[in-house]
């Protein structure tokens, strides 16, 4: 229980230990710990950044898909409209063509009918004359009754 020189000797060894720890133990370990902390913090920040970037990319891809969908829809709509237009046009054309063909055919038929009528008329008159000639023979003079025959033929 008496204070003596041990006090001073012990204080000196304490001072040496403090110096040693301050110089050789603390800084090395602190350096390692701080470097690791920084690495971890960087990693976490990078992960966070990656997450944000992923979110932005997801948003953008959704926008792009939406745009594409809208465009596709409008293209389809236009195409449908154009198709129905084309169909309508084709229908109109076909109808006009048909009408034209019908008109032409009708005209041709009329012509043919007329021609046939003419031919028939002439043949009928000749036939009538021949018939009449055969029936009447001499009593009828073809020349004298030509006018009459012509008027008959005309009436046919």
């Amino acid at each position: 229980m008496n204070i003596n020189l041990t006090l001073i000797a012990q204080a000196i060894s304490f001072a040496i230990l403090i110096w040693f720890t301050t110089k050789f133990v603390w800084p090395y370990l602190l350096n390692a710990i701080e470097t690791r902390q920084k690495t971890i913090a960087d990693g976490l920040a990078a992960a966070e950044r990656g997450k944000q970037e992923l979110e932005v990319a997801t948003q953008r891809s959704a926008e792009v898909v939406n745009d594409a969908k809208q465009k596709a829809t409008s293209i389809i709509t236009q195409a449908e409209k154009r198709a129905s237009e084309i169909v309508e046009e084709a229908k109109a054309n076909a109808k006009a063509e048909g009408d034209r063909i019908i008109t032409g055919a009708k005209a041709e038929i009329d012509q043919e009918v007329n021609r046939a009528k003419e031919g028939l008329r002439q043949q009928v008159s000749a036939l009538a004359v021949a018939g009449a000639e055969k029936i009447l023979r001499k009593e009828i003079d073809a020349k004298a009754h030509a006018d009459l025959l012509t008027s008959i033929a005309n009436e046919l």
Binding site: T6, L7, A11, Y28, L30
Partner: protein, 267 residues
């Protein structure tokens, strides 16, 4: 058993006497070789170990050894961080680590069974040798005094010599010249009581722990029942002592940090 031919007071006296080396003629010029050598050896071993682990410290994935040391260092660092506001890494935190680890291992010498250690020391030719450096008032007072000197050093370094003297006379009551004596008396008491309470707390705990172990050892020498109950109570006291050893080391460190951070703050 060595105590067979000893009276109880001789037994205790034997275990509590230092290995002294007289240097001068007055009572002050004496060295306690057991305290000095044990503490120095412990310091060399433990801080050598720390140095060895820390020298290969990696900032990547740490080994188990390094993780353990880091746990210790971060424990100390967190305590310092909560008390001291400044650049603690320059001095205060390493100091706290030194104090904590050194006091802890010096206290832990108390776990070694005192009579068996006496036999071991006897083989080495050391007949008066105390295992626990912190149960020597010189050791604890040396630490407290060193901290006290650092306290004054930092007070002067932070506030300047004038600032420190101003604080001695002008706090805690004010700057009025009438209260200067009261202020100074207050600060004087504070400066005296700090190292005393700091060192005596640790010394008292460790010394009392040693005495109790000795008393139980003495009881063990009285007969079979004494041996049985002495061993039982000794085991109980040793288990309780684990708490005391760690707690006193922690308290010593905390007080060191508190005193030094108070020295950094101006009132």
């Amino acid at each position: 058993m060595a105590t067979g031919h000893l009276t109880p007071s001789e037994y205790i006296g034997h275990h509590l006497s230092f290995n002294q080396k007289v240097i001068g003629d007055t009572g002050f010029w004496v060295l306690h070789m057991d305290t000095l050598i044990t503490s120095a050896l412990l310091g060399i071993v433990v801080f050598g170990l720390l140095w060895w682990v820390v020298r290969g410290a990696t900032s990547g994935v740490p080994t188990k050894r390094q993780a353990f040391v880091e746990l210790l260092v971060e424990f100390v660092d967190n305590q310092v961080k909560s008390i001291f506001h400044g650049n603690r890494h320059a001095f205060i935190a390493p100091l706290a680590l030194t104090v904590f680890v050194w006091v802890l291992v010096m206290n832990a010498m108390d776990f070694l069974p005192i009579d068996i250690m006496a036999i071991v020391y006897g083989w080495l030719g050391l007949h008066e040798w105390r295992s626990v450096p912190t149960s020597d008032i010189n050791a604890t007072f040396a630490l407290a005094l060193a901290v006290w000197l650092l306290m004054i050093f930092f007070s002067i370094k932070v506030k300047g010599l004038g600032g420190w003297i101003h604080e001695l006379f002008c706090s805690p009551f004010g700057t009025n010249p009438l209260v200067w004596p009261a202020n100074f008396a207050f600060n004087l008491i504070e400066y005296i009581s700090k190292p005393l309470s700091h060192s005596l707390r640790l010394f008292g705990n460790m010394y009392a722990g040693e005495i109790i172990f000795l008393l139980l050892g003495m009881w063990a020498a009285t007969g079979l029942a004494g041996t049985f109950f002495g061993a039982l109570l000794g085991a109980g006291w040793a288990i309780f002592h684990i708490l005391i050893v760690c707690l006193q080391a922690f308290i010593f460190m905390m007080l060191t940090v508190v005193y030094l951070s108070m020295a950094h703050e101006s009132h």
